[in-house]
Subunit: 310 residues, 2 copies
């Protein structure tokens, strides 16, 4: 298999290296880390999977340089999607599968508008604990499952594409599941992402403190309930007790910084488009509202702009 | 007239000094500034009113030391009201008038519960630009009007009390107006206080930046609209166009820090009780909600606690 990976951060690096180790021909498109990866290759550090070195690496600065691939993983920040989608459309061959390993909501729509009709488009939700230690160096702490759902493409080939992807990842040691409903899964992931991505930035706090103070604990719950009600209004109801489970899970977790908080502190743009803007637009289009989610989004737009100007 | 002033910050200092200059016997209760005021007296610096020195000053550390007074001005932060009210009740003589020169909503209820039935209680909204330069030193930049509304007291004496207060302040050079409806006036003042007190703290920003970014500009307007709708629900509708006027006025103002922002930066407790908690409780009791105001309050509770612990 020829595999392209756009973005070699923690997520792209981990799945790309796992596929490379399984013998697939992997091509990475990276920006800032290009020179370092070209010279030193890439490295996976994983207590559970074993360490692995990939060198030399097929690495490019630009999507336009990619050879035709069977599978294209997109693991960049959503903030660059508007620019990336038309570039990717030029190199995604008919019959190939593009899998968006991205956070949030509505990301598939941006790519679908640009991709040819016979290119398969899927979304993936990653359940993995990984960290980019440095250019091309990915530290894997645990987990690794990938839930993939078919979004759109050439009619009649969905099942074949799903099987191809499932087989490829499973043979590479990754627990891949095919989800029957990608959009519902994306709403479900927002139940955690919407409160914690934003509040950790807005209140400059880890998750434990937010879950400890009674006022913010209530606020987290209310934000989750707004997301659940919005999903129902948009025709994607969650299973009964979904929020209670997410809530209990959060209570059991150690303190952590959200990736949005990490981005904020590093002065990078925040993924507000996919985590806030797109779900808010969906619920407004359905005749509803998420007032506290909207206020969080409004506050983050202000903070993000000031942060990028500094 | 014997006048007591509890709190000799900018507001209490200004009105107390103006009454002292007019020849009234003024007694100040202060905390941190006690020693300095006792030794050096108090001073008003005012381009419009002229400078004025009061020395020696009748100054006390404790409300319990006050002699019986005809008029008691309360100009402390609302955060100490719960402790102050029972102390004041012990010294407020029958027939005397207590005027709360405080921000927010619901402050009269806290004092009313403690004061004897024949003590008159009023609320005052100050329209004045003053700054406490140091202990007992008050710099007056402009304005000075005081709008006072009767809250409760001995039946049948309201008119006499209002005339006494009006005469006393007017003769001291202060433009005092009697408001027919104190509660409506307090709701109206919240239209400005609720968005700007909280957002300047939450987003660590002056008012100009908040009114410039389209997202926070919309948010300010939405918070004002929640307050207006809440006032209507609580039976205190505002005049048509009230918010538009407040809006236009804000647009014309230079950048400023809210007093809540000043308190926050100085590590002092925030007046969340009167500006957020009490109006939120009132609207919930009336069967309504102010979701974005509530979220602002929840966030400020978290920030205030962390700020005081640091």
């Amino acid at each position: 298999m020829k595999v392209a990976v756009v973005g070699a951060g923690a997520i792209g690096g981990f799945y790309g290296l796992m596929l490379g180790r399984a013998g697939h021909e992997v091509h990475f498109v990276v920006r800032g880390d290009y020179q370092a990866i070209r010279e030193d290759g890439m490295q996976l550090i994983s207590p559970s999977e074993g360490d692995f070195q990939l060198s030399p690496v097929n690495v490019y600065r630009d999507v336009a340089e990619l050879p035709p691939c069977d599978l294209i993983l997109v693991a960049t920040k959503t903030t660059s999607n508007i620019d990336l989608a038309p570039q990717l459309a030029k190199v995604a061959a008919p019959g190939s599968a593009v899998v968006l390993l991205q956070n949030g909501f509505g990301v598939e729509e941006i790519f679908r508008k640009q991709l040819g009709p016979s290119v398969h488009l899927l979304g993936g939700l990653c359940i993995v604990s990984v960290h980019r230690e440095g250019p091309g160096v990915i530290h894997h702490f645990g987990l690794g499952a990938l839930n993939v759902g078919y979004h759109s493409g050439a009619a009649g080939e969905q099942s074949d594409v799903e099987t191809m992807i499932e087989t490829t990842f499973r043979e590479a040691g990754i627990e891949l599941s095919i989800m029957p409903d990608l959009i519902t899964a994306r709403w479900q992931k927002l139940v955690m992402n919407i409160p914690f991505s934003g509040l950790t930035v807005l209140l400059d706090s880890g998750t434990r403190a937010l879950m400890t103070h009674p006022a913010t604990r209530t606020l987290v719950r209310q934000l989750m309930e707004e997301v659940e009600a919005a999903a129902t209004l948009c025709g994607r109801p969650m299973p009964a007790g979904y929020i209670d489970e997410a809530w209990a899970k959060t209570d059991g977790q150690p303190d952590y910084q959200s990736s949005m908080q990490v981005d904020f502190k590093a002065g990078r743009p925040l993924e507000l488009d996919s985590i806030y803007e797109a779900p808010l637009a969906a619920v407004v289009a359905a005749g509803g509202a998420m007032p506290k989610v909207e206020m969080l989004y409004q506050s983050l737009l202000f903070l993000n702009q000031r942060n990028l100007q500094q």
